[in-house]
């Protein structure tokens, strides 16, 4: 009985490992390409390691950090990093507030038109962001925030996904707890801050990760809504490495730049890995 269970768990481990490998392959490929000298095409020799046509035995001849240096020269990366970080924080901070308040209202308050209103908000989930591009641009220009970091944040301050998520979580919090707090003299904001939010922390963490990675990876809106380098995020700078159509793709530099851009997120994830996985498991986001 035990040995059979062990056998199945080994099979499961192997299958998990294989799946993980499939997901890892693009990343491995990216790293290898970023280290490959630009005059050694991928078609020469072994795709992973192997060697240039002239130095058959020297494995190290394949590896170079030149691509990272070249990619580093292309843009003021630290400045773009600052913008990316500020935008991510500026979006997430406001989202936390709006989705908490709205989530509470839809979960616990009874008012006329609640279902209809929630329906409207959820409708937002079905509209692809690209459709709103020109409208958002016009709005941002009328507000006078075109070509500022505010333009990158504003369209995301209200989040249908976040509202839905928090509403569902708050609905799972027993109203008895709220009533007990109210008897102790707490007002609604205090109840939110002391009762609902602490009990829903895993949901917040999970939402934060989704929101951070979505804003971090976003290209089109920042590209359209800003013009000056000072207020442009990392993705727009990365575009420069991608746009070498006339001379052909410089894969080494492109991959090196890509790794530079994703590095902060990867580090963040590795640091809080356990926390994130627990949060996703308990909040049910995939």
């Amino acid at each position: 009985m035990t040995s059979e269970r062990n056998r199945w768990s080994i099979v499961a481990d192997v299958l998990t490992g294989l799946l993980a490998l499939i997901w890892l392959l693009p990343l491995i490929f990216t790293i290898l390409m970023s280290l490959r000298p630009s005059n050694v095409p991928i078609t020469v020799g072994n795709i992973f390691i192997g060697c240039g046509p002239f130095e058959e035995l020297d494995v190290l001849c394949r590896f170079t950090l030149d691509n990272y240096y070249e990619a580093w020269l292309v843009a003021p990366w630290l400045q773009h990093l600052l913008t990316s970080v500020l935008v991510v924080i500026g979006v997430l901070g406001v989202q936390m507030i709006t989705m908490t308040l709205a989530g509470y209202a839809f979960a616990k308050l009874r008012f006329r038109g609640r279902g209809l209103l929630l329906g409207f908000i959820l409708l937002q989930l079905m509209i692809p962001t690209g459709v709103l591009l020109v409208q958002n641009l016009t709005l941002v220009r009328e507000l006078g925030v075109f070509d500022t970091r505010w333009a990158l944040m504003m369209p995301y301050w209200g989040t249908a996904f976040g509202v839905l998520l928090i509403r569902q979580t708050f609905r799972g919090v027993p109203t008895d707890l709220e009533e007990a707090a109210r008897i102790d003299g707490a007002n609604t904001l205090q109840i939110l801050a002391r009762v609902y939010v602490p009990l829903s922390l895993p949901t917040y963490v999970a939402f934060a990760l989704v929101s951070i990675s979505a804003r971090w990876n976003e290209f089109l809106w920042p590209f359209i809504a800003t013009r000056t380098a000072e207020v442009r995020p990392l993705t727009v700078a990365l575009n420069q490495l991608y746009q070498t159509t006339e001379v052909g793709a410089q894969y080494g530099e492109l991959m090196a730049g890509t790794l530079l851009v994703i590095a902060p997120l990867v580090v963040l994830f590795l640091l809080f890995q356990r926390r994130f996985i627990e949060s996703f498991a308990s909040s049910g986001i995939k």
């Binding site: 507000l143 380098a229 070498t244």
Partner: protein, 433 residues
């Protein structure tokens, strides 16, 4: 506590846009959009030129905006819709007639005519560089900025070792390719695979006697004898000898991006590519890179220009001062000093003759005479395909050529296919005749 924070946030959100809006000034501000198409720190180079201009011109502030690729630049301008922000932009030289039709640009000619010595300014540009700037009446609309042409690159070490002369026409090109071809080395790579062979094709159409377009934007020559000869030649390059071809390259041609890398790795003796690749090839090759006039015709070399020009935009709302400021900036960017520096920094062919006598370009050419070849072959260059409705016509030309080159359409049916495409093109152009 929480309530106060919340209140402050709401106030902040309401006040902030107003606070930002106040920072307006009396200076003329120009928004300059530029795409990139080659590698290297191109954006910071251009921002450097803009900073130079701003410093030398108090009262004018040019705000440089990197706008991605040519297509992304175009999309950005389109997204701005009825209230355009753009004042000056680098766009494809072949976009001329769409801009003229949209009535969004001001002809450079109107500023050139007010110069002290218009002829001196115009004559300093290589005549070929202005081919795509002029309309059928000879009016100059745009000013060349980042221009390139199709060139032949060859592995000079191989040529020397085998004692082969550098080809000057299609016959010698094939002979050299056949002599230098080995098991793991193609004789000649021409990047016409991947769905966009029009640019390469144009060099050969010109070489075989009839360029795709000339001055008249309502005429496109796609089913002439030269067209058939050019597309036949390009197809035979990739057709094996058993099937009656020259068999010196891969069937269907090579892919654009992979061609320079294959050359660098010693997998090709000769390649056709843009002059913009020269710096990359010189920097990364472990052999001597030779550059020659593209030997695209039976009678001798022929090439085609490509790349981007500067346009001044006006939706009718601009004052004369603003337009003059925009022209001052365009004139600055096309000045020999900037073009000389730009040629070295980017690898584009400097558009003005005097730029080549200036530093740093003069020293670069002395050290690497290859750069001089890309300049000298301007003598055999034709204008890039440019016509009314060019986006749709470009689509027809690309798909027709790709069909023949890939072997999907056999060569015996090539003429009929070209005739069909020509009929479609004429249908589109009839509206403009």
């Amino acid at each position: 506590m929480m309530r106060r924070t919340l209140l402050m946030l709401v106030v902040l959100v309401c006040v902030l846009p107003v606070a930002i809006g106040i920072s307006a000034q009396d200076d003329i501000t120009l928004d300059f959009y530029f795409p990139t198409a080659v590698d290297g720190p191109i954006v910071s180079t251009i921002e450097g030129y803009v900073a130079q201009f701003n410093e030398a011109n108090p009262g004018i502030t040019v705000v440089p905006s990197y706008t991605g690729s040519y297509t992304q630049t175009r999309d950005t301008i389109v997204a701005e819709g009825m209230e355009p922000i753009v004042d000056v932009a680098v766009m494809l030289s072949t976009d001329l007639y769409s801009f003229i039709q949209e009535e969004t640009i001001v002809p450079a000619q109107s500023f050139i005519d007010t110069m002290d010595d218009p002829a001196a300014f115009v004559d300093d540009f290589f005549p070929a560089m202005l081919l795509n700037s002029r309309d059928a009446d000879g009016t100059i609309w745009s000013i060349p900025f980042q221009r390139s042409s199709v060139a032949l690159y060859y592995n000079a070490d191989l040529f020397e070792a085998e004692g082969i002369a550098v080809p000057t026409n299609t016959e010698e090109l094939i002979a050299a390719a056949q002599a230098l071809q080995t098991e793991d080395r193609a004789g000649l790579l021409i990047p016409v695979a991947g769905g966009f062979p029009t640019w390469m094709y144009q060099a050969f159409a010109a070489g075989f006697g009839q360029p795709l377009t000339a001055e008249d934007p309502s005429v496109v020559n796609f089913n002439s004898e030269a067209s058939l000869d050019a597309v036949t030649f390009l197809t035979l390059v990739g057709t094996s000898a058993e099937d009656g071809g020259y068999g010196v390259g891969p069937a269907g041609g090579s892919a654009w991006g992979e061609t320079p890398t294959a050359f660098l790795a010693g997998q090709a003796a000769m390649i056709y590519h843009t002059s913009g690749s020269l710096s990359n090839l010189l920097n990364n090759a472990d052999f001597t890179v030779g550059v020659a006039f593209a030997p695209s015709g039976p009678e001798g070399p022929a090439t085609v220009l490509g790349g981007g020009n500067m346009y001044i935009f006006d939706d009718g709302s601009k004052t004369q001062e603003e337009l003059d400021a925009a022209w001052a900036f365009v004139e600055f960017m096309s000045s020999p000093e900037i073009q000389s520096d730009w040629g070295v920094a980017s690898g584009y062919v400097a558009a003005r003759q005097s730029a080549w006598d200036m530093e740093p370009l003069a020293s670069r050419v002395e050290e690497f005479p290859q750069y001089g070849v890309t300049r000298d072959q301007l003598d055999v260059a034709v204008m890039e395909f440019s016509s009314y409705d060019s986006i749709n016509i470009d689509g027809i030309v690309n798909s027709t050529l790709s069909g023949i080159l890939s072997g999907e359409v056999p060569l015996e049916e090539a003429q009929a296919t070209l005739d069909t495409a020509q009929a479609q093109i004429d249908g589109l152009l009839d509206a403009y005749r």
